[in-house]
């Protein structure tokens, strides 16, 4: 994976596969503190202790029963490559939280990539799932909540092209305001 936003997309896919209704995505970045943290929390079916222990092993998981495949091992590698780590907490029927920490200024940290495009694809591609995306920088906070969008839309499909365009623009402008997701 070339970008962290692709890892993010992949981890969200796990939540969706775990039948989540709500996925809470939080990205916190602080260059001065050399910190970049991506958290994905869902209310899906979760994992038991035994499965959780094997979750980073790409070869133990079996295709038919898997909730996680290569995605997490790749994310772990991407984090550890730049002095970070990945922590997972999960409980059956309660959901899963994946927290990935990176050293923001580390030379080997993958670039963030296009967050607006990534999140728009995820939101539109999974119209039955709700997403709350929060991005925090020292400059401020941006929040996108699909529950509010859907309520506002009053029956109009969230995948309507005009709505898709609005979502993408909203994220891009929101991030710009707080200087979020930018790699120079």
């Amino acid at each position: 994976m070339r970008e962290l936003s692709m890892h993010l997309m992949d981890i969200i896919e796990n939540s969706i596969k775990a039948d989540a209704d709500l996925v809470i995505i939080t990205i916190e970045e602080n260059k001065a503190e050399n910190n970049l943290t991506i958290t994905v929390k869902d209310d899906g079916k979760g994992m038991d202790k035994e499965f959780l222990q094997r979750v980073f092993d790409p070869f133990v998981t079996s295709r038919t029963t898997r909730r996680v495949g290569l995605g997490l091992p790749l994310l772990k590698a991407a984090a550890e490559r730049c002095g970070g780590k990945v922590e997972i907490t999960s409980a059956p029927n309660l959901g899963t939280q994946v927290k990935a920490c990176f050293q923001h200024q580390h030379i080997d940290r993958a670039p963030m990539g296009n967050l607006a495009e990534t999140l728009t694809a995820v939101i539109v591609g999974n119209p039955k799932v709700d997403f709350v995306y929060t991005h925090i920088t020292p400059k401020g906070r941006y929040v996108l909540d699909t529950r509010i969008i859907k309520e506002t839309l009053d029956g109009i499909n969230i995948s309507h092209p005009k709505v898709v365009e609005w979502i993408k623009k909203n994220i891009a402008e929101g991030l710009k305001k707080i200087n979020g997701g930018v790699d120079e």
């Binding site: 936003s5 495949g69 506002t152 839309l153 109009i156 309507h160 609005w166 909203n170």
Partner: protein
């Protein structure tokens, strides 16, 4: 987000008011493979291209969704085009440009783009 919700409301009212010119696309679905394999092969760009092409052509009754790995990792990025009453067509090894062509040729003009499919898949 809150501030531009007004804009979203305007979009909503606009869409509600608009009379449908075209009904032919109803029930058509595009499903993009977004497993680990798909994403790393460029599925996000493919999906963005599809959404953009639909928007440009003002096609609002085609549903674009995503799915996980379907086991054809070496053919990623791939997507299914499902039209009501027709057999599902799986397009493989896509690029954003190829995906745009599928929208134009298959979705709009109703012709399967044979170069991009794998027989017997």
């Amino acid at each position: 987000m809150i501030k531009s919700l007004e804009e979203l409301k305007r979009i909503r009212d606009e869409v509600k008011k608009a009379t449908k010119v075209r009904e032919g696309m109803k029930g058509t679905r595009i499903v993009v493979g977004m497993g680990t394999c798909g994403i790393s092969a460029g599925a996000r760009e493919v999906m963005s291209a599809v959404l953009d092409e639909l928007r440009k052509r003002d096609i609002d009754d085609v549903v674009v969704t995503q799915t996980g790995c379907i086991g054809f990792c070496k053919y990623e990025p791939l997507m299914d085009v499902i039209k009501p009453g027709e057999e599902k067509v799986t397009y493989v090894n896509l690029t954003p440009e190829k995906a745009r062509r599928v929208v134009v040729e298959h979705i709009v003009n109703g012709r399967v783009v044979k170069e991009y499919i794998v027989p017997n898949l």
